[in-house]
Symmetry: C2
Subunit: 318 residues, 2 copies
């Protein structure tokens, strides 16, 4: 790893939390930054999906993201290209030339000494799995959509009524060879955090978490205990085979894998704990910049378990 | 974060994988390193406990660690103090003076511009939990001891016989308010890796994994599937209440939490999937250097979820 020196320039691809954090650290070292973001705004998934808080510390998104975004927007060391892509990257470590522009449009050139690629993740599109009626039943939503409701302080059904019974279905688009075979690592913790936030908002709602394994690793374990002991959240170990929209409610059919039998429950709202996919811009950036992706489409680090170096000298992953 | 420049010196506290990796990266930038290691040898837990391979990629420990250790030992930029501690750290970011010496002995002074503290982890001492007979029944061992056996290519009972039935008990000293309340994150993956390695060595051994939840998050999920599909490893969802040494075998009593009933099984060997505790040198280093620890004794980063900055300027965690 060779880092650029004070006064040199680094290209940061992606303006989500990781890209912004990298950019703030770089300008702190006196390094110039060219920031390229595919969308019209900075902030990535937390801003796009209007996350209320970030797990597991439950810090408000605003408190974490606003200082990063304003530091970048105010810095004379940073040039920002929104609604833009890196179309091509020529040269080599210490002497890259990036072609930056809109899709198909004319490119601006930027000479940079190193590149940080932080194209992030996207929430799994649950309409890819027909079992859950996502995209058809209006009271079936994803955890990313629930975040927006929590931010608005208003968790309601499509008809405006307050849900009395609510289920979270874990591992949608995760640990499932029909869609994504890996574990997304975070949907357990995020869902448990959300369940507690819903319970604070709607005192008499009943919440059921339908899970394969509870994966609150490390210090997230406290969230799991608090959710049961302080918030009365219920856990069902099971697998959902189908969600049916009855018109007024949602019928969940599945197998309880703890007591070994089928179950059917009626819910007012179903929240799908969707997993993650590679970020929207990952495939395009990987191709334009010449980076390897793994069989699932995520950027491949040079060394397993060390997630900073790409296989191309002078290009780092964040 | 302010990084030292080429030619300046960084103190690295702890010569395990993280400290060695940090030192190698620093010398790559032309920065001098003073490395302080409490024990008589470099390499940390993988060397001390003779790990065979590192999960989840199953790379031989030797292949990962040997290049790090030899790069450090050969570099003219590195001064190594083995069997030594940092007794005190005076000064401030950019101008620290470290007092380095044996316990109680006379100190050598080193002037450094920044400090990296990498005092790592230690395997949970299972004799703290009397249920498992660890330290009394000779055929009850920990995953760290099994690594040494795998490295020797010889998994045998205390009496020299080959085990025909072997159980791994997950979450020993993890997810248990009587000992450690957090999830250690890694003992699922390491145990599954080891079970497959045992099966390759002893073709006709039966292996049972007794678990609360399987926490093979991210891409470790493949290990879990392979262990069942390619290696025939068995999984029992349950909690162990007691291990009894019958003299010739080990009787495990517990509750099967999948079919909801008690179970009793006889095993030839029991492997405890022990969790982690703060590294041996963590408490002493934290005190000498003036760093905060969390309620569990691990070093506390300045910002939650960002594990590099300590709360003291110029001192970094690895």
């Amino acid at each position: 790893m060779t880092l650029p020196a004070n006064g040199q320039t680094v290209l940061v691809v992606g303006g989500g939390p990781a890209g912004l954090r990298a950019a703030v650290d770089l300008i702190g070292l006196g390094i110039k930054v060219v920031l390229v973001e595919k969308r019209h705004e900075l902030g990535g998934a937390p801003i796009r999906w209007r996350y209320k808080t970030l797990a597991p510390e439950l810090r408000p998104t605003e408190e974490v993201m606003a200082p990063l975004i304003s530091a970048i927007e105010a810095s004379p060391l940073v040039t920002i290209h929104k609604s833009s892509l890196v179309q091509r990257l020529d040269g080599q470590a210490g002497d890259f030339r990036a072609h930056i522009g809109g899709e198909g449009g004319r490119a601006t050139m930027a000479d940079v000494q190193a590149v940080v690629v932080s194209t992030g993740f996207e929430h799994f599109d649950a309409s890819r799995d027909p079992r859950y009626e996502y995209g058809r039943a209006p009271n079936v939503i994803g955890i990313h959509e629930l975040e927006g409701m929590l931010t608005d302080g208003k968790v309601v059904r499509h008809d405006g009524r307050t849900p009395k019974k609510m289920a979270f279905v874990f591992c949608v688009g995760s640990r499932d060879r029909a869609t994504n075979s890996w574990c997304c690592t975070i949907c357990c913790g995020v869902s448990i955090k959300q369940a507690m936030e819903v319970k604070e908002l709607l005192k008499d709602v009943e919440i059921y978490m339908i899970y394969i394994d509870i994966r609150t690793f490390g210090l997230w374990e406290n969230l799991y205990w608090n959710s049961m002991e302080q918030h009365g959240i219920n856990y069902i170990r099971g697998r959902v085979s189908q969600v049916f929209d009855t018109g007024s409610q949602l019928l969940i059919k599945g197998e309880d894998t703890l007591v070994r039998g089928p179950f059917e429950v009626l819910m007012d709202m179903v929240v799908l704990s969707v997993g993650v996919d590679p970020g929207e811009g990952t495939a395009q950036a990987a191709k334009a910049i010449g980076l390897a992706t793994n069989p699932f489409g995520f950027l491949q680090p040079k060394h397993p378990n060390v997630h900073f170096d790409s296989a191309r000298e002078g290009i780092y992953l964040a």
